[in-house]
């Protein structure tokens, strides 16, 4: 048995999102099980069934110099917005 990752698309044109994983002895079983678990209630218009080995995981993101302006939380917009509004007299 090997592990398969299943991604599902809810509506045409939308991105595929991870739905879950399943165990199956081969590709045919994996496809059949994916269909039953993630497709039979009309919750998906398409599935991607991918062997877990095919997924390349990256989990290291070095940021030794604390360049916090790279991060989503590193640029405090709220304060700047407040100042700008005060300057414009609309805040």
């Amino acid at each position: 048995m090997s592990i398969w990752e299943v991604f599902r698309q809810e509506r045409k044109g939308q991105p595929f999102q991870h739905a879950g994983s399943l165990a199956a002895p081969d590709e045919r079983f994996a496809e059949e099980y994916a269909r039953e678990q993630y497709g039979r209630r009309g919750e998906s218009v398409a599935l991607w069934v991918v062997p877990r080995e095919a997924v390349h995981e990256i989990d290291e993101f070095p940021d030794e110099l604390q360049r916090n302006y790279h991060r989503v939380d590193g640029y405090p917009l709220k304060e700047k917005l407040k100042e700008a509004r005060a300057r414009a007299g609309t805040g």
């Binding site: 048995m1 165990a23 045919r28 099980y33």
Partner: protein, 217 residues
């Protein structure tokens, strides 16, 4: 009308009883994913039975529930193949595989029917059965060299032949690559004969309905 109803009932009873037997694996199938898949197939078979009963019920002036639950075991028209309680997974897959092989021929015949209601329903059923066949075939391929599975197919083959009307049997033999059993082997396996296991199943299957006769559920 009676003739059409009889034909529909034979298939409906097969599907209901097989669906019931297959559902006995729910919770105890070899592993979780298979449990989900096989339970889903069982549920589909019961759904097919329901649709067939509804069509027959219209002809007979009754309801699907009455046909499914209010007849005595001897009035059911299912074949002994589907009645057997199989506690072994290899046996279960062997029956599933042989049933789907035979059922495909039967449904194809119904789809060619001049009766639009029958042909239309058969086409709907066929769309789901396609996936049952994929499931059955992948298991059969996987277990192909497994002595327990090989023996089970061998043992259940005559009962599977009995599922079909005689004119479809040669085609089944060809598909399965097997010789058709002799009439003596088929004694007790043909439609009309019943096993004791059907009465047992019937008792369990109808127990809730019989507990409050006439109730609307």
């Amino acid at each position: 009308m009676q003739e059409r109803a009889d034909r529909l009932l034979a298939i409906a009873d097969d599907e209901l009883v097989l669906g019931w037997r297959d559902s006995e694996w729910t919770g105890i199938a070899p592993y979780l994913e298979e449990d989900v898949a096989f339970s889903s197939i069982a549920q589909n078979e019961v759904g097919h039975a329901r649709a067939l009963y509804e069509l027959a019920a219209g002809d007979l002036g009754t309801t699907a529930d009455e046909l499914a639950f209010d007849r005595s075991p001897s009035e059911y028209r299912c074949v002994p193949l589907v009645e057997q309680r199989l506690a072994d997974w290899a046996d279960t897959i062997a029956r599933h595989y042989l049933y789907e092989l035979a059922d495909e021929l039967r449904i194809a015949r119904l789809r060619e029917s001049d009766d639009e209601e029958v042909a239309g329903l058969a086409a709907k059923i066929e769309r789901e059965e396609t996936y049952h066949r994929i499931h059955a075939q992948m298991w059969a391929d996987r277990l192909a060299g497994e002595p327990r599975f090989v023996a089970a197919v061998e043992r259940l083959w005559p009962a599977a032949v009995a599922l079909l009307e005689e004119n479809l049997r040669p085609q089944l033999g060809e598909r399965a690559g097997r010789d058709l059993p002799s009439t003596t082997v088929l004694v007790g396996l043909e439609r009309g004969a019943h096993t004791d296991e059907l009465a047992e199943l019937w008792h369990e299957m109808t127990s809730v309905r019989r507990s409050v006769p006439g109730a609307a559920w």
